[in-house]
Amino acid sequence: MTTLGHELRVSYAFVERNFNLVKRYWGWEVVWLVYSVVNALSITYIGAAMERISGARVDTSYLVLFLMVGTLVWHYLAVVFDSVSSMISWERWEGTIEYTFMAPVKRLTQMLGTCVFSIVYGMLHTAVILIVVAFFFKIDLSQANLLGGVLVLLAGSLSFIGMGVMASVLPLLFTERGAQMTNVIQAVLLLISGVYYPIQALPDWLHPVARLSPATYVLEGMRQSLLHNADLASLWGFVLPLVLSGLLAIPLGMAVFDWGERYAKRTGKLKRSG
């Protein structure tokens, strides 16, 4: 219990530090928030304009909700993935990586603090976007299963944390291009996970690949709960794979990171500021 208390206290170092950085980089945060809001609005307006584009009758409000859910869920998952995966590239950029790695902190504790921050930050960021988007569109969530949506989102966070931990090793191994490589992972997930379209729109050979992406289950589960008012029992089919893949991805991510850290210490890669 004492050890757990110690690890929780130490993990708070990363939560506090990251929120201090958010506070100090407030200008950048404002720019990022404005960009995210505009991006969400632009995509959602595609749904609103579909009748005009196609000339055919379309259930516009359903399409708006479909795209809005995709935009917001993807934004949240991308923020979580980004916060975790950029844990190393950020420290490299600031030049603090050696200091943090020299501190008596278990990597699991560091990850825990980073993940807590990323979930809280992601939720806050997404909530602000939702509030702004709600001003522009008539959104009816009266029939939505909000609790189910939150459950699916939290279950999906586990997998994204695990993938983020795995991706964070890239800047450790590739000092100059590692951060950009994590963007490639995000881009592939965006393509195959049915963020803005059902995965059935993809070529047949991509369907099995799409089924390997946790984001596919998060998005389908969220749409079922928010658009079709699916109950908790029917959401189980989405939550279970997400929890299982999270339970697999997090230890795997830790093992990959541990290997990467040892490699960096053998080859002197922690030193370079990239």
């Binding site: 170092a13 506090e16 030049g95 603090t96 050696e98 002197g268 890669k269």
Partner: protein, 279 residues
């Protein structure tokens, strides 16, 4: 606890860079003429007694910083063994980390954060009580000449010398019993350098700390260090007290030899010479 604070026994560290079809692959062992191997630390052995200030003198690229990184658990030695108070730095890494801290030549901070925010981050990493850490941080920073108004402003607004003082304050805050100072006064003005040197002496007196100090400053080494190892091309070429080292060199031009004379005599180069072995 062991009377020997640090034992370095045959430590060796090599860095490789290789290539595959023209693509650089750092870390790959050399297999052809294009690959390169650098021995940054070569069979280095010495021990440091508890409460000693041990100096490491060497030109740029001589292997000083690599040696400090090996002790600080930031690098894994290829050969040899390093122990801190009897704990192996590779096998008992976490326990060693609790005993040490390091100040590097480049003050590594979150530059947008204030000194206080950076120090509180350090305090939490070392699981210190936040309230008392905040109080101690102010005391240490004031003592190093950093005024109250600067403590809560972003570090990027401070001069390099002031940033280096904050780095030293951060290391002192966590009360390490083995402090690794890698050229801590490089870039400081004479007044700041003197403040830091006094603080180092005081830390040894009041906190029973052992200090390993790398420096280019001969006067500093002479003033602070109980013993000094001179390192050249990754190897220790001499190790003794400042007086013992000076005794190795004959008097010249009717004056007593300085540490610089000793260094020139033993290595054939000046301390400012650039090397290629480390950054």
């Amino acid at each position: 606890m062991d009377d020997l604070a640090l034992v370095v026994d045959g430590a060796t560290k090599r860095f490789y860079s290789g290539s595959w079809k023209g693509w650089p692959i750092p870390g790959l062992a050399p297999r052809n003429g294009k690959a390169k191997m650098v021995t940054a630390v070569d069979q280095v052995s010495f021990s440091v007694r508890r409460n000693e200030i041990f100096g490491v003198l060497g030109a740029n690229g001589s292997g000083k910083s690599t040696l400090i990184r090996l002790i600080a658990t930031l690098l894994i030695p290829d050969q040899g063994r390093i122990s801190v108070f009897g704990l192996d730095v590779t096998r008992e890494e976490m326990r060693v980390k609790r005993l040490i801290n390091r100040v590097s030549v480049d003050a590594a901070f979150f530059k947008k954060l204030s000194p206080m925010e950076n120090l509180m981050y350090a305090a939490r990493l070392y699981d210190m009580d936040a309230r008392s850490a905040r109080k101690q941080a102010v005391e240490i920073l004031n003592r190093l000449g950093i005024m109250a108004e600067s403590i809560y402003s972003p570090l990027e607004n401070m001069s390099r010398g002031m940033q280096q003082k904050v780095a030293i304050a951060r290391a002192f805050l966590t009360a390490p019993i083995l402090l690794l100072l890698d050229e801590p006064t490089t870039g400081l003005d004479p007044r700041s350098r003197r403040d830091v040197q006094e603080f180092i002496l005081d830390l040894r007196r009041s906190h029973d700390a052992t200090i390993v100090l790398t420096t280019h400053d001969m006067e500093e080494a002479d003033r602070l260090c109980d013993r000094i190892a001179i390192i050249d091309n990754g190897r220790v070429v001499a190790l003794d007290t400042p007086q013992g080292l000076k005794a190795l060199v004959a008097r010249g031009n009717g004056r007593d030899p300085t540490l610089e004379d000793v260094f020139m005599d033993l290595t054939g180069k000046s301390l400012q010479e650039e090397g290629e072995r480390e950054g």
